[in-house]
Amino acid sequence: MKTGLGIALAALLATGQAYAAGTTLNVGMASADAGKLDPHVATSTPDKGLLHWMFNGLVRIKPGEASPEFIEPDIASSWTTSDDGLTWVFSLRDDVECHGDYGKIDAEDVVYSLTRSANADISAFAKDYTAFDSVEATGPLEVTIKLKNKIPSLLGLLVPYHGGNIVCKDAVEALGDEYQRTPIGTGPFMFAEYQPQQYVKLVANPEYFRGEPKIKEIFYRYIPSDSSRDLAFQSGEVDMIYGKQEQTWVERIKEVPGTVVSVMTPGEMSVIHLNMKMPPLDDLRVRQAVAHAISRDAMVQFKGPDVTLAAISPVPEGNLGFTADVPTYEYSVEKAKALLAEAGHPDGVTIKAIHTTLPGMLTTMEAIQALLREASINLEIETVEHATFHEQIRKDMSQVTHYAAARFPVADVYLSQFYHSDAIVGTPTAVANFSHCSVADAEIEAARVEGDLQKQLEYWAEAQRKIMAEVCVVPIVQSMQLWAWKDTLDLGVEVKGSLNLSPPVTEAASFSQ
């Protein structure tokens, strides 16, 4: 009896070692389940991270990088642009196969994809394509895009990040609503299976135009508990995990033998928007005092030097168009107090912030509160549930708004969404201009249509200088994307960044053991 039990237990436990190594990649993602797996609809980090490995664009950012300066051909083999920058002609590769039996990608598929991306009834990214006048198939493997006006980075809209993902027309039409559960792309990995709340399984695309991937299957596992994800990595059940944005997480996971920790761009930039329409922040001297009272170095130390960078400008470092040549406000409690006194507040001021209860953001705000207190600036924090926070700050109810965001890394995106007057909250065209900043409208608009890159960069730099001079915002820190994987996993590229927020698992990735 005892022997029988022993054998049964051994057999039971042996199945625990069933995770195939060598060609199977197990990934642990911080999410309870998959969302809509349609690349033109998905907006969440977990969904985008998965779709990253299944789709291509006309162009792409070199794997391992996140900046648009590394844009290279993907489905398009080459392209030309007219002198006025309004007409772009793309020549397509002739060897790009859709997953399954949906045939080769041609110009019709590309036209269909970009038209779909611009359709507000379907796409979450339609507004990015409002400058598109037409997208036409001008040959079986040639696509012509005409723009109504110049935009800062057409190629940026064509990378497989948001709307730039190319879908297979026949697949989308054949599958209908099922497409968002059975995505068909052209990338190195193909959708194979979905188990609710468990995983999405991808398999290698043997017809991939850059070569068949060495990794044969990927299990993208949904593990919402941070501690369970870490323990699963420690036990070897997953090979790659999405990290927690904390210094302590990096320090702890580094201790697991054979671990590579990756700190990737683009970072999520935390800033403090100062509402210039609400007293006392309508006084420039008070805003300058706030800027002087916040020590970025202290904030970097507080958030963790391995996982954050000091933010200098309203545009994150690493974005196309970023400049560090902006007015800065050194940490000085004395200067802050002097400015307050000059503004008629010798005893200090009280300002109020509506803030989310999300712990990561709240602790940052509490640290800022402590710094401001030193300079007699009393920051009252009213905490509300996260969804309420988003609702109320968009109703222009907060004097001070702490906002953390990652965006496509071209300066225009941050500048337009946060600092152009069209984006002021509470207006019909509102996006996320919480400060009511409008000092750089002319430069932001000029940069959008400027064809000369140098001039465009100068416009963006000037916009950043004006915003900082006006103290519409106090940049705090950039929190980087954190991932860890086994050192036996070779991604085939040096990973510095990933626009899609997941490491580049391509045809080049393999296990060394």
């Binding site: 625990g16 709340q197 299990f219 059940e237």
Partner: protein, 313 residues
Amino acid sequence: MTAFVLKRLGFAAITLFAVLTIVFFIVRVLPGDPAMAILGDQASQSALEALRVRLGLDVPLYQQYFVFLGGVVVGDWGVSLVSGRPVIEEILKVLPATIELTVASLILGIVVGVPIGVWSAVRRNKLPDYLARIGSLLGLSFPAFVSAVLLLLFFSIHLRWFPVISSGQGSGLADRMRDLALPAINLGLIMAAYITRVTRSAMLEVLNQDYVRTARAKGLAFAIIVWRHCLRNALIPVVTVVGLYLGILIGNSVLTEIVFNRPGLGKLIVGALNQRDYTMLQGMMVIYTLIVVLVNLITDLTYGLIDPRIKYS
């Protein structure tokens, strides 16, 4: 009996209707915009408006309510705002996993809790009683997520007997048992703690009854007195607690499913709450209400099986 069941089912329908109405309105007064949850914070006002129209959130609340009620009646519980999949399909896919975990925990709780409770009562104020009381107190004091992490650290990381996460692969008995073991132990021990205390207290009361003294005086074996006569008479409060606790168990399964990464209603409801998935939340509430109503009905019927004197009228 039939009349009793029908009457209870009628009450269940009324309860369900009341819960559905409350849930419908509570879900809609929750802060947050589902359109923004779906499109993200970069969406323009026009895109948000377009999505609200598509989701039917632009029509008056009473219209949404009647559409919702009609849907529930005909089995159309709508489509998840987040995944786009039918709510009923999403729930039915993971419901068996939650039922599996709950039933396994219940069995474990009864198998462990009842004997220890009896043992503790029989050995009142002796070492076994103290040990059982301290053990059950510990079981009640540990939050499910703490004991879950401790179990993982010991059995999965230190001993490497079980996986940290449910792999979700393989449908054989061994795979299922392996995936189920730690989560069931985690919930089962908490349940066992409750059952131990209730069984002990019920047994103490029964052990002082006259018929027990008479049975002992007649020279009946003590084991027979305890297990055949006393336990049966002490089971009514135990069944009541088990029935009541089953609802709590399903609630505790939320945390257990998250930590052990098991599929189930718990993960579904957490995801739905985070993303303001109205239709999914409504569907979940319908299911939870149905489960609680059903468990109460079964509990009531079980009383009659335990004590023949109980008549249903």
